[in-house]
């Protein structure tokens, strides 16, 4: 089992966390102006990167806060975790 670094609580076991999909997908700034196609992309389409992927996790059995992570989708290794208001860190 992986240890995941919660930005607030520190390292905790993977089973305490809930996965939330791609990070940095902002709610449309002008919702009324969106076409059906743009809505569809906002609702249903997410990147599906092979490699380093910025995604959301929630520490659901701990502090219950959401945070972001950069994780490699091939090795599953976490390269960084950071608070939602922080920009995606540069990782290698």
């Amino acid at each position: 089992m992986q240890m995941i670094q919660c930005p607030w609580c520190g390292p905790r076991e993977e089973v305490e966390f809930h996965y939330g999909g791609q990070a940095h997908v902002p709610y449309p700034s002008e919702p009324a102006a969106l076409s059906d196609e743009e809505w569809a992309h906002y609702l249903f389409f997410r990147d599906n990167t092979r490699g380093l992927y910025a995604e959301r996790w929630s520490h659901s059995s701990g502090c219950r806060k959401w945070f972001n992570a950069v994780r490699d989708t091939v090795t599953y290794r976490f390269h960084a975790t950071y608070r939602p208001d922080e920009p995606r860190p540069v990782t290698a």
Binding site: Y19, G21, D36, A40, H41, L43, R50, E55, V74
Partner: protein, 439 residues
Amino acid sequence: MTTVDAFSTDPDDAVPHTPAAAAEGRLHGTPPRTPGADLPEHPDFLWKDPEPKKAYDVVIVGGGGHGLATAHYLVKNHGITNVAVLEKGWLAGGNMARNTTLIRSNYLWDESAAIYEHSLKLWEGLEEDLGYPILFSQRGVLNLAHTLQDVRDSVRRVEANVLNGVDAEWLEPDEVRKVCPIVNTSSDIRYPVLGATYQPRAGIAKHDYVGWGFARRIDEAGVDIIQGCEVTGFLRDGNRVTGVRTTRGDIACGKVALAAAGSTSVLTDMLGLRVPIQSHPLQALVSELLEPVHPTIVMSNAVHVYVSQAHKGELVMGAGVDAYNGYGQRGAFHVIERQMAAAVELFPVFARAHLLRTWGGIVDTTPDASPIVGRTPYDNVFLNCGWGTGGFKATPGVGWVFADTIANDEPHPYAAPFSLDRFVTGRLVDEHGAAAVAH
């Protein structure tokens, strides 16, 4: 080089099933009937290993069951034989070699019932069509209900199935026990069995043999099966793809058909085409060989595990996907642990069985738990993906409708509801209840 050793990752192949192995006592116990003694020997070479030609009418990307079946029906139903199936690894070594082989058609919506039932009917004649054993065993499937809402949803699905000509019945707990005596139907467990839907025509098949059977047939018909050939890019001219870039050189093509399951996004990203697909690890596992104890397939969406007993005697078990996106063909151990806990509660008799092996595949899930089959914004690129955790059962059916779609440049009626644009029109085919993530 294609050798039968290329298939040694077959989850069923850890213990040799030859009479010699039995004589040496390498099999479990002294069975009254050697498990698997009725299995055919592994085949010799079944297909050639050609160099890619410069050009083909149709290039199929992905040599899993879907790609191979598509080639078969391109030949058989449409007379199109100048076809290449390009496979980056070895033939049918992706999800095709890793799945738990459950075949059923008891889906809720008309659109799904149509395509899965079409597939099940083809399974029923596939051994003859391919002239090759696939060990299709129609032993039935029980989908357990554990809550009142489960019961209501299940009865609704049975009625929907019957209206669509799919065999389905609702069974009370005592009838469940008659079909599968080892299911724990006592009322004092955490998730008691309140009944089950039953599809008697559901079953399992030997997945490798299915892949090899298709491969042998299409090879005979002149289709080139090219292994160790990864598509790494596309040659484009406006709205057309004129060829594929591969690790074995460029190959020109009239049409391109993508059948790359969990890796579809990697290909569509190269085309600048966005698809609503998320790839996840999905794990399965087998026990040691046991005497026949488990006569049917049992699945439970609520406690999440499903089990069948393979021809040779292993209990084959699966559960849901790992939550996170992944391309690693393995998953996390706690997922297996939960699935084992559910299995032991439902089948107390399993408590002493040893887990022999676990493995994972990469499956491609969609927002409505239904596949995407059909055309793309490119004139000559066709898409087949999003079968997620349940596409093995669709193998002949989707091969048929995908071939028809490619040959006629318009969606086969059974494929039409599964077009990419349903995510824009909103005509989703929400099969979470019947598909996600039971198989």
